[in-house]
């Protein structure tokens, strides 16, 4: 059996085992589904209510993606500026660290105050959650360019832009993709967070409503959907990453998912 196949097999066994243990423990200890529903109940709810859940899934997905794309754009621009310029690094970094230390839950009410409830605060929270890891990774990648190589290029008459384009950015790609995978999960957390506070749509809202109705299986169905979406996007970025930055791992199949 190939290494690849065995790896997948074990990953599958682990996931199935996790759910099986959960199911068996719940049955054995007779846990009420108000406290912890069994996975089979959750899946049943999921299938049952998919028609109602689906628009909410789409809502969460598109707010997350817009927030994520904006966050990546902002993150790349700030990260590139910080990585290239020492002055920008010294001036902007303290502010950024201060901002990233703020719990984003605390920011949501402010966004709601400014923009009303709904999609806008969700997008902004997703953005606020996800741009920081991108800034840090892009800046690090750019700042670690070998000085000798920079000398070689400068002596050829390369401009700062030439160096950024030919060396800085490609070198940053592995860092960038690593941060994308983190950022996309953060973006989900952000938009769902905002939906739970102020929205009448989205998975976060569904879960809030369900929990106030003691519909615990539906709460868990929401959690499962979020996990599934998170995995889906993570895998998508891993596949792109393996294509773009295969050179960094020196082996195909090593970077994939």
């Amino acid at each position: 059996m190939s290494y690849e196949l065995r790896r997948r097999l074990w990953a599958g066994i682990l996931i199935l085992g996790f759910f099986a243990t959960w199911e068996v423990l719940c049955l054995a200890l007779q846990v009420s589904d108000l406290v912890l529903p069994r996975p089979s109940q959750v899946f049943a709810t999921l299938v049952d209510r998919l028609g109602i859940l689906w628009p909410h899934v789409l809502q969460t997905l598109w707010t997350t993606m817009i927030g994520f794309v904006l966050g990546v754009t902002v993150g790349v621009v700030i990260g590139a500026a910080i990585g290239v310029s020492r002055t920008a690094y010294d001036t902007v970094y303290p502010l950024l660290i201060g901002f990233s230390s703020i719990p984003k839950v605390a920011v949501v009410p402010i966004f709601v105050l400014w923009f009303g409830s709904g999609a806008t605060p969700a997008i902004l929270t997703a953005l606020a959650m996800c741009f920081f890891p991108i800034v840090v990774n892009i800046a690090t990648g750019l700042a670690t360019t070998e000085p000798e190589l920079e000398d070689v290029l400068k002596s050829l008459g390369a401009s700062k832009l030439d160096i950024l384009w030919n060396v800085g950015l490609p070198r940053t790609m592995p860092f960038f993709f690593a941060s994308l995978k983190i950022a996309v999960t953060f973006a989900f957390v952000g938009s769902v967070l905002s939906e739970t506070v102020a929205s009448n749509k989205g998975i976060g809202n569904v879960m809030m409503t369900a929990s106030s109705n003691f519909d615990v299986p539906l709460v868990f169905a929401g959690l499962f959907l979020l996990a599934a979406l998170g995995i889906l996007l993570y895998v998508a970025f891993s596949l792109v990453e393996a294509r773009v930055t295969g050179w960094a791992t020196r082996r195909q199949g090593f970077a994939a998912a």
């Binding site: 070998e146 000798e148 190589l149 000398d151 070689v152 290029l153 400068k154 002596s155 050829l156 008459g157 390369a158 030439d162 030919n166 060396v167 490609p170 070198r171 790609m173 930055t245 050179w247 960094a248 020196r250």
Partner: protein, 280 residues
């Protein structure tokens, strides 16, 4: 011939000229001198090796010549003009080959053509035809033609350094600056690369400034060896090396070569103990 004409003619055949060039680092008042007033003239097509104790300012001279550093006092002329890091056709290679890991050897060597004028304007059109052939021809000269499609991590240290030399030469620079390019290699690979370097130079005759710790390397490759004193350095000896070319490793065992080696060695040891005494 009028005297001014003679000077002009003299100028045109001088590739590099440092006149009273001095460098110090740090703020004025607390400045640390790195290079004392130095005069150095390198004629077109000359191969000059610069040796000296470590930290003496060899690399400072190289960086001055490349235009990466401005002299605190004095002037640095390359091709008769003050260096301003613009429009100079310089090739550089360091001890660390710094190949870009995401490009094949072919594309790595081609990199200068993507940046240097006038090549860069045609880069898109010619990278798969004319430039590619050019890279392959140069790689063949150093025995790497079969590795054009490989990635840097698939090559050994010696091969990477060959590719590094190719990258420094692909845009046909009139001036080649080498900072201990063979320093990290084992002795046999190093000697092999001296041969490669020599044949590249004999074929293209660029002006070369080589910085090295290895006196044998200096004697083998250079047509002139300059010795520097300890930090803050200056040039204390400047001697021509007239052994016929192409030189062979066998030649390095001749008594004349050994004598040159010993003389250079004594000069450097003197320069070092000199500072040791001054420092005490």
């Amino acid at each position: 011939m009028s005297p001014s004409h003679a000077i002009q003619q003299g100028r045109s055949s001088i590739a590099v000229e440092l006149s009273q060039a001095a460098v110090s680092f740090g703020k004025p008042g607390k400045a640390v001198p790195a290079l004392q007033e130095t005069n150095l003239r390198i004629a077109d097509g000359e191969f000059v090796a610069l040796v000296g104790p470590s930290g003496c300012g060899k690399s400072t001279i190289l960086r001055l010549t490349a235009g990466l550093l401005q002299p605190t006092r004095g002037a640095v002329l390359v091709g008769g003009r003050e260096v301003a890091a613009k429009a100079l056709r310089i090739g550089m290679a360091f001890q660390n080959p710094t190949m870009l890991p995401w490009l094949t050897i072919e594309r790595n060597v081609m990199l200068p053509l993507k940046i240097v004028r006038p090549f860069r304007s045609d880069y898109r059109a010619k990278r798969k035809t004319e430039y590619r052939d050019r890279v392959h021809a140069l790689l063949a000269d150093v025995g790497l033609d079969k590795f054009a499609g490989h990635y840097p991590w698939q090559l050994s240290g010696g091969m990477l350094q060959r590719a590094n030399l190719c990258r420094a030469l692909i845009h046909e620079p009139s001036l080649l600056l080498l900072d201990e390019p063979f320093g990290a290699l084992d002795q046999f690979t190093r000697e092999e690369l001296w041969g490669t370097m020599q044949s590249l130079w004999l074929k293209r005759k660029p002006t070369v400034l080589l910085i090295t710790h290895d006196l044998k390397e200096a004697g083998f490759l250079a047509s002139r060896v300059c010795v520097m004193s300890a930090r803050p350095g200056r040039i204390i000896d400047d001697s021509a090396v007239d052994f016929p070319r192409p030189r062979t490793i066998q030649m390095t065992f001749d008594s004349e070569f050994v004598a040159l080696n010993q003389r250079l060695r004594d000069l450097i040891i003197d320069a070092r103990t000199d500072t040791a005494i001054r420092g005490a």
